[in-house]
Each structure stands twice: as structure tokens, then as C-alpha cells.
């Protein structure tokens, strides 16, 4: 009966893929939803590639998944991945289906699967990856993920003991997840710009996880990321199996070393987050047996997906599309910090509004007060346009962050709001948008490009 149910689910899901393709829909989720509805155990039953590399964590999952797919595909592997779809069970099923020509056959050799960190109870009993990368654990949506210790506890309870972990030694929350599992650590040694005391509002590792004494950081990159020692019991951050060093943003290079050697890699871009993504990808590839020379060459042909960070010349300005997930204080803080560090005058548009919540409820805004808007209180930021349903919330938060009132432009309608940008020649215009406003952001982008060209012609 269960086998029959699986077969019906398989055929239905496959037919839905065809129907979606014929009607011009992307179909990255629906086939999996249908399959799981008909056969709740579908994920457990569908044939899987011989090797599955899973990626979870708060930030960097999609970037790392894309990077690993790009690297592995270049080596000739046939990869199935949910890189373009949902990271919930339905998206994973849809991805695995794409590699199955028949109900009992999987043609892909490798699966690179992004897993939503809260989906561990649904995914891990039915799919056991050989390698699981945990990029980091930070605060995310408070409504769904509460706080990182809660997610760490969930992962620890559900990750099977046979899974080998690749974890971030610089993150004392994620690197201690699932003590039942073997693990390798990656981390980046001291970098220019590191601090000792936390300058961020979010700092979720203030006490020793063993004895609850005070942690002393030898260096801290941001939030709780860094290397720490307990002043009471001597507990400390683990040593790295894969160590990043000599990070040079001028030359755009980083050295990555392990017990088998080292190589200098070209960075994907100049954000620290992407240094970790690159390091993490190299750690996975090294763990799979590739040598540094091969990986370095393959990585030099990779780039990060444009939906996260894209720079466009428009009129006399440079428009930078900067994704900063709505309701995610950490992601927005990192994006603000990154932008604050860029040289030159900037004009900012904040539209990380949760469009879904606006329709039926009202967005829980408490994340704004975990988020470091203080990075935007800078003389080289010419103006900040706060827009969308939460425009007044942004205004109050910016004022409390120390942004001068005269720099804040508050207009609810996004299209009208961007017309208030001054478009000064040579400025960088940053459009901050979230995952909820991906499509809408493209419309706003077009409007900004149009306005910038008009301003240049005047």
C-alpha cells in the first residue's frame, strides 16, 4: 500500500512538473508539495544520489549551495539541488525528483541540498546526508526561529549521528551543535577590523556554554563570531581544520590552509560573509578529496548570485541592489555594516518590508531594535529614504540610531519615495530589499534607473 502510494505520488508530481513547464511556471516547490501530500514519507522513499551534501545555518545557505553546485558541476558531477527553490521538505523533494527519470532510479551523482534549519525534524529522519555544513547560527525571524539556541537544540536532537559535520569554529553556537557527530572546523584567523568588545546589538554568546562564566574574546569579527576563551573554566573555541588567513581585500585574495597544504584563493566579493562562504566551500571540496589547485581554479570561475548583491551603472550614479532579509536583524546589520564600509557618498533606500504580513496583519517590528541601524549614522550617507508600510518605524529607529532628522525622507509609496532621491553625480544608491520583495524590488530598480537617467540628462 505504501509503495503504491509512493508511485501515485511520484507520477502526480512528475505530471505537475510537465504541467508547470507548459504553463510557464518555475515549479520549484509544488511538485514536492503534491508528492508529500499524497505520500508523507515520500522524502524517505525517493532514490537519492550516492552522495548528499547538505547545507544549513542562518546565513549563507543559498550562496554556499550555489557555489558548491557551480564547483561540482565543473568537475563533471551530475548535481541535483534545490538552489533555485524552497529549502523546506517540499523543495528538497522537488529537487530530488528532477534527478529521477523513474520512480526507482536517481540519475544525479551528487545532491547539494539546502535545508531550512528549522526543518530538521521533518528532513533528517528521511534523508541522511554524508556531509552537513552548518554555516552559522544567528538570530533570524523571531516569529519562526525564536533565537539561535533554540535552533541549535533542534538540530542537535535531529541530526543523525552518522552525518559528518563541517562547522564554523568562529561561531560557538553552531560549532557545538549535535555533539554525537564527527566534525571538521573551518575558521578565519585575525583580520584587520576585528575588535575585542562587541559593537553590535546582537551578541548571543556572552557566557561560556560549559560553565556560564564570562567569555573573553581574543578577537571578534562581528556579533558572537570570533575566538573566545572562558575566564572561569578555560573552555575555548576549537582549532580549525580549514583555516583562512591573509585576507586581502585590495588584492581580493585569501589563503586557505589545512593539513594537506594551502593555496591562495580569489575572493567572491569584498564582504567578510563571503570569505566564510568561500572557505566553507573549499572545506567541503577538500573533504570530498579535491586538491587546492583544482579547487582554486574552479572557484576562480564562480560568482555569487545576483539576487543578493548587484551593482548597476545608471545615469551618473551606481545603483547597488543589496538584499537584506526582512525581519532578520542580523542579515540587515551585516548589510548595513558592509555598505557603511564602502567609500564614497551614498543614498539609501530602505524597503525591507514584509509584504506578506502587510496584507493580513502588521509586521512584528521588534527586529528593528536588534538591528544595527547605527551603522547608517555616517557623514558619507547623504540621505535615507524610508518607505513601505513600516516607513514610520524606520524613521524612529533611524533617529534613535543617531541619523540626523534632515537626512531621513519618509514616504510610504515606494515608487514615489525613490523619486525623492537627489541622484547626485558619483553617488552610490543602495536599495535594501528583502526576500519578500524580490519581485517588487525589480520594479523599484527600474524606476530608480529611469529617474537616474533623467537626472543625468538635466
Amino acid at each position: 500500500m505504501n509503495k503504491l502510494r509512493y508511485l501515485i505520488a511520484f507520477i502526480t508530481a512528475k505530471l505537475s512538473v510537465i504541467a508547470l513547464r507548459l504553463t510557464g511556471h518555475p515549479g520549484t516547490n509544488l511538485p514536492g508539495q503534491l508528492a508529500l501530500r499524497i505520500c508523507p514519507d515520500f522524502l524517505g522513499r525517493i532514490p537519492k544520489p550516492a552522495r548528499i551534501i547538505a547545507v544549513t545555518g542562518t546565513n549563507g545557505k543559498t550562496t554556499l549551495t550555489n557555489l558548491l553546485c557551480d564547483l561540482l558541476e565543473q568537475t563533471g558531477e551530475k548535481v541535483v539541488s534545490n538552489r533555485y527553490g524552497s529549502n523546506l521538505a517540499s523543495g528538497i523533494v522537488t529537487a530530488l525528483l528532477s534527478g529521477c527519470p523513474l520512480p526507482g532510479r536517481q540519475s544525479a551523482t551528487v545532491g547539494v541540498i539546502e535545508i531550512d534549519e528549522r526543518s530538521a525534524p521533518r528532513v533528517f529522519p528521511r534523508m541522511t546526508p554524508q556531509l552537513l555544513v552548518i554555516t552559522n547560527l544567528f538570530r533570524d525571524s523571531i516569529m519562526r526561529n525564536a533565537h539561535p539556541a533554540y535552533i541549535a537544540d533542534l538540530l542537535s536532537r535531529y541530526i543523525p549521528a552518522s552525518v559528518k559535520l563541517i562547522v564554523n569554529a568562529d561561531d560557538l553556537i553552531s560549532c557545538r551543535v549535535a555533539p554525537q557527530c564527527e566534525r571538521e572546523y573551518f575558521g578565519i584567523g585575525p583580520m584587520p577590523g576585528d575588535v575585542i568588545e562587541c559593537v553590535n546589538l546582537i551578541n548571543d554568546m556572552r557566557i561560556c556554554p560549559v560553565c556560564h562564566g564570562t567569555l573573553r574574546y581574543d578577537y571578534r569579527r562581528y556579533h558572537h563570531i570570533g575566538r573566545a576563551v572562558c575566564t572561569s573554566c578555560g573552555f575555548s573555541s576549537p582549532d580549525c581544520d580549514y583555516a583562512g588567513s591573509e585576507v586581502d581585500f585590495d588584492k581580493m585574495t585569501m589563503r586557505i590552509s589545512d593539513k594537506g597544504g594551502s593555496a591562495v584563493y580569489t575572493l567572491l566579493n569584498d564582504s567578510v560573509f563571503n570569505c566564510y562562504n568561500l572557505l566553507c566551500a573549499v572545506a567541503v571540496m577538500r573533504s570530498l578529496g579535491f586538491d587546492h589547485g583544482q579547487i582554486s581554479e574552479l572557484a576562480s570561475r564562480c560568482s555569487i548570485v545576483a539576487t543578493r548583491h548587484e551593482s548597476i551603472k545608471a545615469g551618473d550614479i551606481t545603483l547597488v541592489m543589496q538584499m537584506a532579509k526582512e525581519k532578520n536583524a542580523l542579515a540587515c546589520s551585516r548589510a548595513f555594516d558592509y555598505v557603511a564600509g564602502r567609500e564614497g557618498e551614498k543614498e539609501i533606500v530602505l524597503m525591507m518590508n514584509c509584504l506578506g504580513d502587510v496584507k493580513h496583519w502588521s509586521e512584528n517590528v521588534s527586529w528593528l531594535y536588534d538591528c544595527d541601524f547605527e551603522f547608517l549614522a555616517r557623514p558619507d550617507i547623504r540621505c535615507i529614504v524610508a518607505t513601505g508600510a513600516r516607513a514610520l518605524d524606520y524613521r524612529l529607529r533611524l533617529l534613535l540610531a543617531g541619523v540626523e532628522e534632515e537626512k531621513i525622507i519618509c514616504v510610504e509609496d515606494e515608487m514615489e519615495a525613490v523619486s525623492r532621491l537627489p541622484f547626485v553625480k558619483g553617488d552610490q544608491v543602495y536599495l535594501f530589499y528583502g526576500t519578500d520583495s524580490l519581485v517588487f524590488a525589480q520594479k523599484v530598480r527600474s524606476r530608480i534607473e529611469e529617474l537616474a537617467r533623467e537626472a543625468a540628462e538635466k
Binding site: M143, R144, A146, W361, V365, S366, L399
Partner: protein, 236 residues
Amino acid sequence: MKVEILFPEVANLYGDLMNPEYLRRSCPDIELIGTSLRDRPLFADEEPSLIYMGSVTEEGITLAVEALTPYRERLAELIDSGRLFLITGNALDIFGEDISADSGWTQQCLGLFPTHAKYKMMDRYNALYVGSFGDMDIVGFKSLFGHSFGSVEPLFRTLRGDGLNENEKGEGIRKNRFMATYVTGPLLILNPPFTKWLLAEMGAADCTLAFEDAAMELYRQRVSQFKDPSTGIVYH
């Protein structure tokens, strides 16, 4: 004026530390004093103008209970004598009898109030909140693993949303000037009239709130939106 912040190393979730910070920004005479888990609390030897604690991790609840248990009688004495407390988010549960979660986790708490919290660890409760405090509207959010059950005098009267639990219209706990509420936002930033009242209770009635005009404009917008029957209350 001293405001004691209990255990900021674990009780710092959901922007709640901006509550005491907003008081300080509004009234320069306020000194914020953070008490760590291993410190002797300020309230043990002094009577701070306000004792504050905000939303906390589950492990933090255990650690906070351990840290406060030796001072339970002192806390009871301060509550009975009318010292000012503001407790927000799930920190409320620390002052009740106990917490039990469907994951099997249980925690004996301080037992200063006859409430029992029940958590569903995979079924988070997320909602908007509209209530009243005297003639003031109160707005905010709830993002919790559960609710509390027990007979207590509430802090707020609920207009839309749930109180301490789905069947209770009273929200929070009030005894003398001890105030605890599940409402976050941060509460004091989202509710400038309540914040002014609190400052007056602390003896700082003359203070103008930081960016009071912007805060009031936002408050009026939020009250109007949350009271609108077409605005959903419980997220699903």
C-alpha cells in the same frame, strides 16, 4: 535614578534591551546598571528606581531562576513594599510557579505568582496585541512558545488578541507596582504614553521622550491599524 537590568547576557531578545535604553535616552538622570548572572543584584542592597528584565532564552530562564532564587524573599519584600518592576516577554514566567514544555523540559520558577506556563516548542504563538492601561491604549506583539495559566491581577485589559492565555482577557501580572507582560515591541518604544507614565512613577515626570513626536505619530498609526477589525491578530 538607577535602573537595574537583570541578566542582559541572556535576557536580551527581541529588542527588549531598548526598553531601558529608551528610558535613559529620554531622561539623562537615569543610570542603567546591568546585573550579570554571577553578580550580587543591586536590589539586594538598594532600592533601584526600576528593576527591569526582558525576553530570555530557555536556558537563560533556568540560569535566571538559579541566580534569583537566593533573593526570592527580598524580591517578595520589594514587590509588597511597592518598588517598581517592569518585566517583558517570557521573563514573566520566571516569576510564576513553573514552566512545562511539550519537549519534556520543565522548570521550577520563583513562585512569586500562582501562574503555570505551558510551552509548545514547535508551535510558536505569534500575534499582535491591543489592550488598555487606564485610559491609555497599549499596542505591541507577542512571540512566545506558550501561555500562562493562573489567577492573577492583570496589567493590561485586552481589546484585541489574547491575554495571559487564549481564554483570558487579562494580560500580564500586576501587584502594587510590579508589572509583567508578555507584550514586546519593544513595549516602551511602541507605547510612548505608557512610557511617560512609567517615567512619572520613577520621579521623572518632567522628561520629554526621546524623539517624542516621531514616537507619538507612529503610536497613533499603530493603534489605529491594530484596532481596525480587518487587521489580523494571530499570525498563521
